[in-house]
């Protein structure tokens, strides 16, 4: 729905429904108008997810803890991968919560149409509400997990005196936003195609799994051979995770060029996702 300005000779039409709209009309202002619904969807997701579950919301912290433990046993004790002299628990925890944030935001957005077809088919509201509320849901989850990480980090820092916390740590929210932008962008793009071709769903879950292996989640970027280093660092997630670790654990130096490339990629992907999603949001519903 587009809001119109005045026209001669005609009543003052306030909105118009037509066959298409311009690519730059992302409807973000309309989204602000519907902010209540984003919160409402978020609450629904949250309440529904932990209803009839014995330990409920504790899963949010239990999940990264168990993953960390598992990574520790497998990659540290059995496979013996380096952790760049970082205490393994912190190393794996940082990798796993950042990766989970990325993959959850991506899948949340990817299933926008499929999981909400019954609502999309019956009532109008900006379709972007759903992926945004999913992103909000995963951001809150991530914030709790990051809080847990910080708590453990500070305790460890005071007890062992090993880490140094610099002011640059305050910039980490920018990293998180970058992760979300990248994940949401890919999620929005795939959501349109998943709705039309379910094959994309299988391809994506497969690719996502492979993508984790080429991202420094449970190993440090420093072990990547020189030969592959550049292509490895062009993965937008590599600079994000490595920067996080450098800031907290003082492992190596910051690669500003790669950070910039990653930021530009993320924002571009997000913009492409928003444009595509807006262009197709109504057409997709005819084919689902």
């Amino acid at each position: 729905m587009q809001y119109l300005s005045n026209m001669n000779n005609e009543p003052n039409w306030e909105w118009e429904i037509s066959t298409s709209h311009k690519w730059y009309q992302l409807g973000l202002r309309e989204l602000v108008h519907y902010k209540d619904i984003i919160v409402s969807f978020y609450r629904r997701e949250l309440l529904a997810a932990y209803h009839q579950s014995v330990i409920g919301v504790s899963w949010i912290v239990l999940q990264p803890l168990l993953t960390t433990l598992f990574y520790f046993l497998v990659f540290n004790k059995i496979v013996k991968v380096s952790t760049d002299n970082t205490p393994p628990v912190f190393f794996y925890m940082s990798g796993s919560i950042l990766w989970a944030y990325f993959s959850d935001c991506l899948s949340g957005a990817m299933y926008s149409f499929i999981h909400n077809a019954h609502i999309y088919n019956k009532v109008y509201f900006p379709r972007l509400v759903v992926p945004f509320s999913m992103a909000l849901n995963h951001t809150v989850r991530f914030a709790i997990q990051f809080g847990l990480f910080l708590l453990a980090y500070i305790i460890f820092m005071c007890v062992s005196g090993r880490f140094v916390m610099s002011w640059q740590v305050l910039l980490t929210p920018l990293l998180f936003m970058q992760i979300m932008a990248f994940a949401l962008g890919i999620g929005l793009i795939t959501s349109v195609y998943v709705a039309r071709y379910r094959d994309v769903e299988h391809i994506m879950s497969f690719l996502l799994r492979l993508f984790m292996f080429v991202t420094p989640v449970f190993y440090p970027a420093s072990i990547v051979p020189e030969h592959y280093r550049m292509i490895f660092w062009l993965n937008p997630l590599t600079p994000m995770i490595e920067t996080f670790r450098t800031l907290f654990f003082q492992t190596g130096t910051l690669h500003f060029a790669y950070i910039a490339v990653s930021a530009v990629t993320s924002v571009s992907v997000l913009m492409a996702g928003l444009v595509l999603f807006r262009q197709k949001e109504l057409k997709v519903m005819d084919t689902i």
Binding site: T19, K122, V123, Y124
Partner: protein, 409 residues
Amino acid sequence: MLMPGPVIKVENVSKRYRLGILNSGSLKQDIAAAFRRKGALQDSAIPAANELWALRDINFTINQGEAVGFIGRNGAGKSTLMKILSHITQPTTGNIKGIGRLASLLEVGTGFHPELTGRENIFLNGHILGMKKKEILRKFDEIVDFSGIERFIDTPVKRYSSGMYVRLAFSVAAHLDHDILIVDEALAVGDTDFQIRCLQKMRSVTQQENKTVLFVSHNMQAIRDLCGRLMCLYDGYIIEDGAPAKVIGNYLQREKMQYLSQQFDKPGEAPGNDEVRIKQVSVEAVGKKIIDAETPLTIACEYWQFPDGDSEYMVGVHIYDWSWICVADMHSEGYKRGEGLISAVCTIPAGFLNQGVYYISFDFIKGKDKKVWSFDACLSFEVQQSPGYKGWNGYVRPGFPVNLSFNKS
């Protein structure tokens, strides 16, 4: 207040759907279409075999405060039109302009989550329908009052009976602060009393607050009560637009040939609900091809019953005349039966119905007076003038004797 001017203007709206299942062919088609997108031959280049025009060149204007009804048989394009007006799907051609907030109610309880309580669902559903938090808070008590389920407001809706669920859902919708409201068959659910209350609420809204209502229904009674103007759709076109009694009359007249019987083979595809599914309905003249006033009629309905526990059921037959006035209301005895196929037959003796066009609805009642479902206007027939007579007045022609006595004076 503003002078009632146009609030919706629909111009040249058409809608094409692609048919057929998705397969490798459709990928090829998509890729081909992507390359063809540039240039004007986009539309003409697509083969016509697997596409369906659900709406063709629709034009109309609706003024503020009007209550406009839409009728037409299934597949005529009513729902597609409502979906386009609600901004759920895009028109293939044309555009729609409007003034004011539009709320659409194509289903009651959209977005209700079974795990959430009634209270939480009021907010969720309200937000989805476009209400702001403040608005919901202000109207919350009124909504709960209207639904009549105060006691269960903090119970998850999965524990609600289907009736309670619908009442709560409709109450939210009935309190929408819209300028334009679109209602598509949403009233076809719920118990009769509640439906009447909803209709009254909607009518008072349009009349007092000068709001605009667009209403789709198969229930001719409801649509005639509520609307001041009707449009009839047929095969994607609007073929009539005018006063309700006239449009309904013509619609039913036009449809009558199709409706001497209807048959459905699979319960899953048959009309009905969780408790009743129609297998077949028919009206027949006993021993004759043509129905006239001298012919007895049998009105039959065969249906699958899926009883809800140990409830007592009853089936009713209603006969309406062309202007949708009920001529007769007959019903069976109450019965209790397990799941199964039930056949109900009502015989109308010769010389009861006068000549004219009639419609039949079947009602399914549970307990004393709870309407489970009704199959409205599912049959229609014309009673022909009996040969040799010019015709009688009146709805019925019972042929009660008029006795004469000749007193010698």
